[in-house]
Amino acid sequence: MVRYHATNGNVRVQFTAEEEAARDAEEKAWSDGAKDRKLEQIKSLRLVKLKNTDYMANSDYTMPSYIKTWRQTLRDLPQNNTSESQYDTLLERNADGSLKNSVWTQPTS
């Protein structure tokens, strides 16, 4: 595939052979890193969920056992999910953008 720069005034300039090779390498690196990025996304989502319930660990609060269990489940996500397809399942979204997998939902009992 021939690539082009859009330059000043939208004048198109074809990539040089060196630029093509460099971009191919960048795109391959990006593609190869897909699984790692998904794991990072899971860890990022997990961090938010854990932070949101950190206050329950304060000395003046008794953390419910179901919250303790849920937080441990979140911590164990990376070791219990190691394939890209499992990552995809964890990251699946509903049409409204909310996370589909029930593991992300904070239990109430």
Binding site: T7, N8, N10, R93, D96, G97, L99
Partner: protein
């Protein structure tokens, strides 16, 4: 015989409206008349043109996809600092938007981009913040996981300091709004430094995968005065 001066009321507006319109930006040596504290003088357009504070030095605007947007020679010794505004729609869902400086011939690709990111995010579950960055990347990552729908354009503004001063290492403040493929609305506030001796004359935007489908990039020099 003494000359007769044209006085107010003796100057018909037709002298202006009946004259051929220039229809373009005046040349630097085009002249205008003015009253200099009561004395009629002529002044070159070059003395007036920079008065607005910002002067467009480069742009690329299109709805036809490109693999990179590369604006060269938008930085020079004429202006010390620059403002850049941009909106871009990537072709690949989930790709990230990237930025590099350019020396006029090639993008600067040494692993010399030091940058930090403070991200605030709004998603269906609420609000979150995160920090990130890189101490030696070959580009600056402006967004995480772009959405490729036209309604979810990524937009950025940048202040770029002294890019064309060879003795300085270019610094920039960057502020980018992105909408991810997971429907997160992000704001990435960044500061960067290109930590190798260089003279930057331009910029390049591209994505981690695929093209940029539509874009509007404009670079303005900040008038030194």
């Amino acid at each position: 015989m003494a000359q007769t001066k044209i006085k107010a009321g003796g100057f018909d507006v037709d002298v202006i409206t009946g004259t051929t319109a220039l229809g373009a930006t005046p040349a630097d040596t085009d002249e205008l008349l003015l009253s200099d504290a009561g004395t009629l003088k002529r002044v070159d357009y070059s003395y007036l043109k920079d008065g607005a504070g910002l002067v467009l030095t480069g742009s690329s605007v299109s709805s036809t996809a490109a693999s990179a947007i590369t604006i060269t020679n938008c930085f020079s010794s004429t202006y010390q600092n620059y403002l850049l505004t941009g909106s871009m729609i990537p072709s690949t869902d989930g790709s990230t938007l990237r930025f590099r400086l350019h020396d006029g011939s090639n993008a600067l690709t040494a692993s010399s981009y030091k940058y930090a990111t403070f991200q605030t995010r709004m998603d269906s579950g609420g609000y979150a913040s995160a920090t990130g960055g890189n101490d030696g990347a070959d580009h600056v990552q402006l967004t995480s996981g772009n959405n490729n729908d036209i309604s979810n354009v990524a937009s950025t503004r940048m202040f770029i300091f002294s890019p064309a001063v060879a003795d300085y290492r270019t610094n920039a403040l960057m502020d980018t709004i992105g909408y991810t493929s997971s429907n997160d609305l992000d704001r990435n506030v960044q500061h960067m430094k290109y930590n190798t001796a260089h003279t930057a004359l331009g910029v390049t935007f591209y994505t981690s995968s695929g093209n940029i489908d539509e874009f509007d990039i404009r670079v303005y020099g900040m008038v030194n005065s």
